[in-house]
């Protein structure tokens, strides 16, 4: 027997999307439509569950997706909103049936598309553990055995016999995840449950996932938007785009493929007149304006010298998405030998290890004559790029908004 645990073959799923209603243009027509409404409604609602070909309101949420997952593998599934990730998970977890295709799975499957499914606000935490656990496929006996562990992990011991409606949303999530973390399936399917809860809790979840996959050797399918989580936890990834699989292979390449799917806003800047700043371009470590944290980054600026500039002064600022200037980089003419007889000057600023915090950034470039103190040109909101952390670099806590820049200091024990 091979060690293939999940085999997906030509999986497709068709959905119906609502067609626009016909509008009446006369009063009589409107009246007639109102009379007809029950018949029309009936036809429309009846067709909700049918997805035949040939009508215009059909949408393929998944089309011919095939892949295999080996025993103990952690597979990441990434794609933008509407790419078909959730549909794929719903089919894998038997919530909905595929339109065509086939999946073969060897082993007990548990799917976590949400934490705390089936929680009832009137029941106590303890009762809800049983409720949620049995929904996820555990038996009462299994829960009995793990009850103390589940309660401990959740960190809500004090309130375990209080109705869940008095819980804060964070407590509810913790309790839900705690139950889920104690499932023991051979195959674990996880949707972006990590997107909920506070930061500390997310770390706990990630840690638990790592434990499940690495130490216990279970097979995990993991859907996320969190590139950092995908790159740390998975080695192989599939990328979905409008229902089709566009990539299946190593995570690193998968992530760049995925990021490349995004529309890059403005790449390089080029002026249409040959005065002031002529062009600006950036060189990111990855294609599609993706900059990897702690990798080389460079900016190339071409300025025009036709305005008789004595001391050309060029600088650029890096702004984050909230329009905060993060750093300012200056070109000092006095440090270089310049030939000002030509019409253009091309300069490159290279940063060996760009340690901007993960996020989106853009440039603003200034050009002035230091001698006359005249501002010659300024261009803003150009060269958008994105910084991503790929792979785990020194055990940082990559909490969004925790910092703007990371500095590598030297630590000593004194």
């Amino acid at each position: 027997m091979s060690d293939t645990i999940i085999k997906v073959e030509n999986l497709s799923k068709r959905y119906r999307i609502g067609l626009q209603e016909k509008k009446a243009d006369t009063f009589v027509q409107q009246l007639w439509n109102n009379l007809k409404a029950p018949v029309e409604n009936f036809k429309r609602i009846k067709s909700l569950g049918k997805f035949e070909e040939g009508s215009g309101s059909i949408h393929w949420a998944l089309k011919d997706v095939s892949f295999e997952v080996k025993q103990g593998e952690v597979l990441g599934i990434i794609g933008k909103n509407g790419a078909g990730k959730s549909t794929l998970l719903k089919i894998l977890s038997k919530i909905t049936e595929p339109t065509s295709g086939r999946i073969e799975m060897n082993g007990r499957v548990a799917a976590l598309l949400e934490v705390g499914t089936g929680f009832h606000p009137e029941l106590t935490g303890r009762e809800n553990i049983y409720m949620n656990g049995t929904i996820l496929g555990m038996t009462k006996k299994e829960i009995d055995q793990k009850l103390d562990e589940i309660i401990n992990f959740s960190g809500v011991e004090k309130y375990i016999d209080t109705p869940v409606k008095f819980y804060s949303s964070g407590m509810r999530v913790r309790l839900g995840f705690s139950v889920a973390a104690h499932l023991e399936p051979e195959i674990l399917i996880i949707d972006e449950v990590l997107a909920v809860g506070d930061y500390e809790f997310q770390q706990k979840c990630l840690g638990k996932m790592e434990e499940v996959s690495k130490k216990e050797g279970r097979t995990v399918l993991f859907v996320s938007h969190n590139i950092q989580a995908i790159t740390t936890l998975t080695r192989s990834t599939i990328v979905l785009k409008s229902g089709q699989m566009v990539f299946n292979g190593g995570t690193e390449k998968g992530v760049t493929t995925y990021l490349g799917l995004e529309k890059t806003r403005s790449l390089d800047y080029r002026s249409n007149i040959s005065k002031g700043i002529v062009s600006v371009s950036i060189n990111t470590s990855e294609p599609n304006n993706i900059q990897r944290f702690n990798e080389k980054f460079s900016v190339e600026i071409t300025i025009s010298l036709i305005q008789n500039v004595k001391i050309p002064s060029v600088s650029y600022q890096v702004f984050d998405e909230y329009e905060n200037s993060i750093f300012h980089e200056l070109f000092l003419a006095s440090e270089h030998e310049l030939d000002l007889s030509t019409s253009q000057l091309k300069i490159v600023s290279e940063i060996k290890n760009l340690r901007l915090y993960p996020g989106e950034y853009y440039l603003k470039v200034h050009y002035a004559d230091k001698f006359t103190k005249i501002k010659l040109d300024t261009v803003g909101e150009i060269c958008h790029f994105k910084v991503e952390v790929m792979g785990e670099l020194r055990d940082y806590y990559w909490q969004p908004g925790a910092a703007k820049y990371v500095e590598y200091g030297n630590w000593r024990i004194v």
Binding site: L48, G49, E97, I103, E104, N106, E114
Partner: protein, 271 residues
């Protein structure tokens, strides 16, 4: 290791009883949840299970027994109508509860897989508590009127099974329909009220014209009600009322099982 194959299924399929059995604990907890949730934060709690049928019976006794002087087979009208209301309330209660069970739990259906049949089942079982509690009122009435049930009580399990099969059968059909057509919910409220007059709750079966009696007996609830009355009043079991209804109840149940299974596959898509 258990192997799962996921494919598009077509046509009618038998319910996977083995799988249903594996999820028996879920059925238990959902039933308990149904009971607890229904009476939580209410002062009278399960007392409502007594008050509802009791007051309906009192109204019936005043209106039909007192004012309209409806024939009650020679027994006190209050006992006559309560003996019918006892199973009838369970039947109408489970219909609305189970019909709503899938829609009310749409959040669960779209997030986790489990045999969906558990939901209407739990609705029907959780209503059994009300059924048992309202039996207490019946006991009081029996003692007050000094009525001793006959040996026919041994047939009670048959009547109970007929009642459950009928409730569950129709409940499964309605719940599956309600996922797609929300009309079920609105229609059910008054249809259940109308149906009350299609069963011998407020009047006696002797009031039904001879030529319509067979048609009338096809209503499974007629047999259940008449059977229960016979049981407590030491009358011979009215098999001519029970049997046709039992066959219809079985048909409802079997059809319900298949229909539910057939519709199950689109629940998550249309819920």
């Amino acid at each position: 290791m258990n192997k799962t194959i996921i494919e598009s299924s077509k046509g009618w399929k038998v319910v996977d009883f083995k799988e249903l059995w594996r999820y028996k604990d879920l059925l238990y907890f959902l039933t308990v949840r149904g009971i607890k949730a229904r009476y939580s934060q209410s002062v009278l709690g399960v007392g409502w299970a007594i008050i509802q049928p009791l007051f309906t019976t009192l109204v019936f006794t005043v209106v039909f027994g007192g004012l309209a002087k409806v024939e009650s087979d020679g027994m006190p009208y209050i006992l006559f109508s309560y003996l019918a209301l006892w199973p009838w309330n369970y039947f109408s209660g489970t219909l609305s509860e189970s019909a709503n069970s899938l829609v009310a739990n749409a959040g669960m259906i779209t997030k986790v897989y489990f045999p969906r049949l558990i939901l209407p089942l739990a609705a029907i079982f959780s209503k059994l508590l009300d059924f048992i509690i309202s039996f207490a009122v019946l006991l009081v009435l029996l003692i007050y009127f000094q009525v001793l049930p006959g040996w026919q009580v041994i047939f009670f399990p048959i009547l109970l099974i007929q009642l459950l099969a009928c409730s569950l059968g129709i409940g499964m059909i309605l719940s599956a329909m309600a996922v797609q057509y929300r009309d079920v919910k609105y229609a059910l409220g008054f249809i259940v009220q109308l149906l009350l007059y299609g069963a011998p709750v407020v009047y006696s079966t002797t009031a039904v014209p001879e030529q319509y009696q067979f048609l009338y007996s096809l209503n499974p609830m007629v047999g259940v009600i008449e059977g229960i009355r016979a049981m407590f009043l030491s009358r011979p079991m009215p098999w001519e009322w029970i049997l046709p209804g039992a066959i219809i109840a079985t048909l409802f149940f079997v059809f319900g099982l298949f229909y539910f299974r057939k519709m199950e596959r689109v629940f998550a898509d249309v819920a």
